[in-house]
Amino acid sequence: MSNILEISGVNLSFGGLKALDDVNLTVKAGTVHAIIGPNGAGKSTLLNGIIGKLAIDSGSIDFNGKSMLGVQPHEINQLGISRVFQTPEIYGDLTLLENMMIPLLAHRDGAFRLNLWSRGDQQRDILEKAQHFLDDMNLWTKRDVSAGSLSRGDKRRLELAMCLSQEPKLLLLDEPTAGMARADTNNTIDLLKTIAGRGITMAIIEHDMHVVFSLAERISVLAQGHVIVEGLPDEIKGDPRVKEAYLGGAEV
């Protein structure tokens, strides 16, 4: 199994605050890798570094052997990394169908294409794919609804559909069940299990341990900007260092 994402020696400081301190993390292709840790540990910062939102100070981030440093966010996506945001980021004013068309067009045509002429609603291949992915999430019947009017759960599914439609090699999820009730959380877990079952590599930041232990094949624990433990779920469960990171010690 190859390493799809290799993060080594990453440092990132904001002013005087060291948010990431010599972070080392490897995600193997085809696995579900969870990143957990107390608040302020640097999880979101790390994610932002991977997708190109933040520039790291030193270290390396390699995706399939290629360095991601200094690469623009849209190029990083074109290379195969997709991100699901904490609050579902969709195009609220557009219909679901149009929401799907944008990522599909980006996947097919690249970062920029001056196509002023061909009608969006006549592109067979795009429409078929849109139907396929919306159906997957049981959203095809709502395709003409404005995305902003969806429930939170449906927005999450739409976002997942949008990400999956680009056939990503690595899917990054930032607290996908944040703020969800039990039932919704379980639905999301099932959904993510299905996606993982298709062989898509996933890296998930999560707080909900139930979610983590239902899905993760490997877990990295981040505390105060540093990976303190990494291993199999069973190894992490009993590790005293993890307990201490969450309960004892200073919270950043």
């Binding site: 849209h74 557009l94 149009e98 980006a106 920029f112 009608r119 609603d121 709502k142």
Partner: protein, 376 residues
């Protein structure tokens, strides 16, 4: 859920309907007292301007307060061709549109480095700078305050080569004078461009490019992380809208061969904002309607003076009649800007979708809730 009512068929109907309405203007505008070529030309010219502006504002979500600068550039470039080359408007206008396109490319590149209010203020600053440059600095090119005009001393190289006679010849399209058919030729010339410009805007809106613009307006962040480089899309939208404005400016010069700096003031840019909002931002037809309404009001409303009102109210007892005339006179004639301002505020507060939204609401009441608008 109701299936989307936007189809190539519905768009064709819309286009044909629009074309018919425009071509028949000299007829149906008669009862409104607006069927004279000068005014109808203005409808077409400003309609074009507003359509282009809408692509940047309504579709992409970028509010520019400087688009009048492109009208100015288009006008000046066109008049220069008149002076140097020929009075044939076609080559002149081609040049005008190209020059304004290049100008828009430069300005857009600078301004689009920022978003939101910063972008708007940048466009405002650049536009005012262009206006000041045209008014007092670049006077060799623009002739400053007096404006750029034709003289008998102009070289007009191409024309003299083909011996078109002396004096200042009128503008023409390969020989047919713009003032032909009692001026109606000039109108139909502009109308053709309006119809073409409308068609192009339909294609752009329905294209994948259009989807990207709408994506930028709604959630630019998402677009970046979905693999799209938003910069060239925004720049393209800016240049396209700048070229529409340049075309409008060129047409202005074609029907009336002079160019003045006042066309470039930021208040002129403000006018197109009003037109677009009033008509219906983001819609296809809205901006044209807005442009027509405002130009109509400007020419008709502002010509109503107190005596007309006194006549209007003469059926009432004297005191009430003259009182009403006095009050309403504040809102027409020279005071029509007041009416415009109030109307604009009401639209922004209560009917942000403009006239098109109003029509939509009425349609729903009459036809029932299932009927969705078939205009994007």
């Amino acid at each position: 859920m109701a299936k989307s009512t936007i189809t190539p068929r519905s768009d064709l109907t819309l286009f044909l309907g629009f074309t018919a309405v425009v071509l028949l203007m000299p007829l149906w505008l008669q009862p409104f007292g607006a069927a004279y070529p000068d005014l109808m030309q203005k409808f077409a010219i400003f309609g074009l301007f507003a359509i282009g502006f809408n692509i940047l504002f309504g579709q992409t979500g970028y509010l520019s307060f400087g688009h009048a600068a492109f009208i100015g550039v288009g006008s000046y470039a066109t008049v220069w061709v008149f002076k140097l080359m020929t009075m044939n408007v076609i080559p002149a206008m081609i040049f005008g549109v190209l020059v304004s396109g290049v100008f828009a490319l430069v300005i857009g590149f600078v301004c689009l480095r920022r978003t939101g209010i910063y972008f708007s203020i940048l466009t405002l600053a650049l536009a005012q700078m262009s206006y000041n440059l045209a008014y007092s600095v670049l006077t060799p090119i623009t002739n400053g305050e007096t404006g750029l005009q034709l003289t008998t001393k102009d070289p007009r190289l191409l024309d003299t080569a083909m011996e078109v006679g002396s004096g200042i010849p009128p503008t023409n399209v390969f020989g047919i004078e713009m003032s032909a058919w009692d001026g109606l030729f000039g109108f139909y010339f502009c109308a053709v461009f309006l119809i073409l410009g409308f068609y192009i805007s339909i294609r752009i809106t329905r294209s994948s490019f259009g989807s990207m613009l709408r994506g930028i307006k709604t959630n630019q962040t998402r677009m970046m992380y979905t693999g799209l480089n938003t910069k060239p899309y925004k720049l393209a939208a800016f240049v396209i809208s700048g070229m529409y404005a340049g075309l409008a400016g060129s047409l202005m010069a074609a029907v009336d061969p002079l160019a003045g700096a006042e066309r470039m003031q930021w208040t002129a840019s403000g006018e197109v904002v009003l037109m677009t909002i009033l008509g219906g931002i983001g819609t296809l037809v809205g901006p044209v309607i807005g442009a027509a309404v405002i130009k109509y009001a400007e020419n008709i409303f502002s010509a109503i003076d107190k005596s007309v009102l006194v006549d209007l109210f003469s059926f009432m007892p004297d005191a009430i009649g003259s009182g009403l005339a006095a009050v309403t006179s504040l809102f027409v004639g020279k005071g029509w800007h007041l009416t415009l301002g109030i109307l604009f505020m009401l639209v922004v507060i209560y009917l942000p979708g403009g006239i098109m939204e109003g029509i939509d609401r009425i349609k729903r009441r009459l036809v029932g809730k299932d009927h969705a608008s078939n205009d994007a």
